[in-house]
């Protein structure tokens, strides 16, 4: 694999990680969790432990999902990934991008997400009852799982890219994806740790929700186009045309 391929693979992973980071379910649950912990007079260190465990839960689940998908795809396509798979994946990613533009937030006040209301109610009630770091860890995993419908697109593209990299680069890719995907949660953690109120965080999220929605949708469409051009068209041209 040439340097250009490695750079373009890492670029795809970074973009997919950024798209993952722009999804808001985990950020919403983390805001709620912090609010409930503060209202029940949780000590500062314990609050940091709870929110930290939540973030570790989301990272763990993202890594598990990505590794499982990569394992599955390696077994399905051991030597090379068929062009049709790249074409289908890039089309699906662009489709999910359009869905994000249209459906990600509900048309009402606040940051009410597309999630089925029963799911949202469950996450809200779990955030309220979470008192132990272990519970916060599983809540982090659950909140990532509840967004799977949208997360699957960037995860599949990342997994498809990862399976064609050297083992050390695969590890680097997984770490890069996980770090980038958890950046917003880390920022919320730092803000809460630094004494900011959840009202300020939530107000910012509400004021910028349309921008975040636009960025996530556009990111997915750009990722779909980039992958289609870079993996389908370029490889077809290199190997002597689409008919080859």
């Amino acid at each position: 694999m040439g340097n250009f391929d490695i750079i373009s693979s890492l670029a795809i992973i970074v973009l997919a990680g950024l798209i993952h980071a722009s999804f808001q379910t985990s950020a919403s649950v983390l805001t709620l969790l912090s609010g409930h912990a503060l209202s029940s007079k949780t000590a500062h260190l314990r609050l940091l432990r709870l929110t930290g465990s939540f973030i570790i839960g989301t990272i763990t689940f993202s890594i598990l999902l990505l590794s499982s998908l990569a394992f599955l795809l390696t077994n399905l396509f051991p030597t090379s990934t068929p062009l049709i798979i790249w074409a289908i994946s890039s089309g699906a990613v662009a489709g999910v991008g359009l869905s994000v533009w249209l459906f990600y937030y509900r048309r009402q006040q606040g940051t009410v997400l597309w999630l089925p209301r029963s799911f949202a109610t469950y996450l809200r009630s779990r955030a309220k009852s979470t008192k132990q770091p272990a519970e916060a860890f599983t809540l982090g995993m659950t909140s990532t799982m509840s967004e799977l419908l949208f997360l699957l697109a960037p995860l599949v593209i990342t997994a498809l890219v990862l399976i064609r990299l050297e083992p050390t680069l695969q590890l680097l890719g997984v770490a890069l994806y996980a770090i980038i995907a958890s950046l917003p949660l880390a920022i919320i953690y730092i803000l809460i740790g630094g004494g900011h109120t959840i009202a300020r965080i939530q107000r910012w999220r509400e004021n910028n929700k349309r921008f975040l929605q636009f960025a996530a949708g556009s990111g997915l469409i750009i990722l779909g186009l980039f992958v289609y051009i870079e993996r389908v068209i370029t490889y077809s041209v290199r190997s002597g045309g689409f008919g080859a």
């Binding site: 409930h36 029940s40 009402q108 006040q109 999630l115 959840i198 939530q202 107000r203």
Partner: protein, 95 residues
């Protein structure tokens, strides 16, 4: 328990009506204040004042909806602690 004989019609009418409970209201205001890092004493004082104002407003009515209580509480709380009022009003629309 501090009860007035006023029926509270719950959100969307999905849950059965409840009797108006000042203590329950006070606890939720206090929680909103604490969640925005208001000191405990301040949270206690504000929640008492706001709950009293809302109770006075409710006394003239036979039935109120939970949305009415939320709206009036937010309006009263806004005077003392705008950030707590924001969280009180919007905590159901975070997710």
């Amino acid at each position: 328990m501090n009860m007035l004989v006023i029926d509270v019609i719950k959100r969307n009418g999905r849950r059965p009506n409840e009797t108006y409970d000042t203590d329950k209201l006070q606890r939720s205001i206090r929680a909103a204040c604490l969640s925005v890092r208001s000191p405990e004493g301040e949270a206690e004082t504000i929640s008492k004042k706001v709950a009293a104002a809302v109770t006075t407003w409710c006394e003239k009515k036979a039935t109120v909806t939970s949305q009415d209580i939320r709206r009036i509480t937010s309006k009263q709380l806004e005077r003392y602690h705008p950030e707590a009022a924001y969280i009180y009003q919007h905590h159901r629309t975070i997710i």
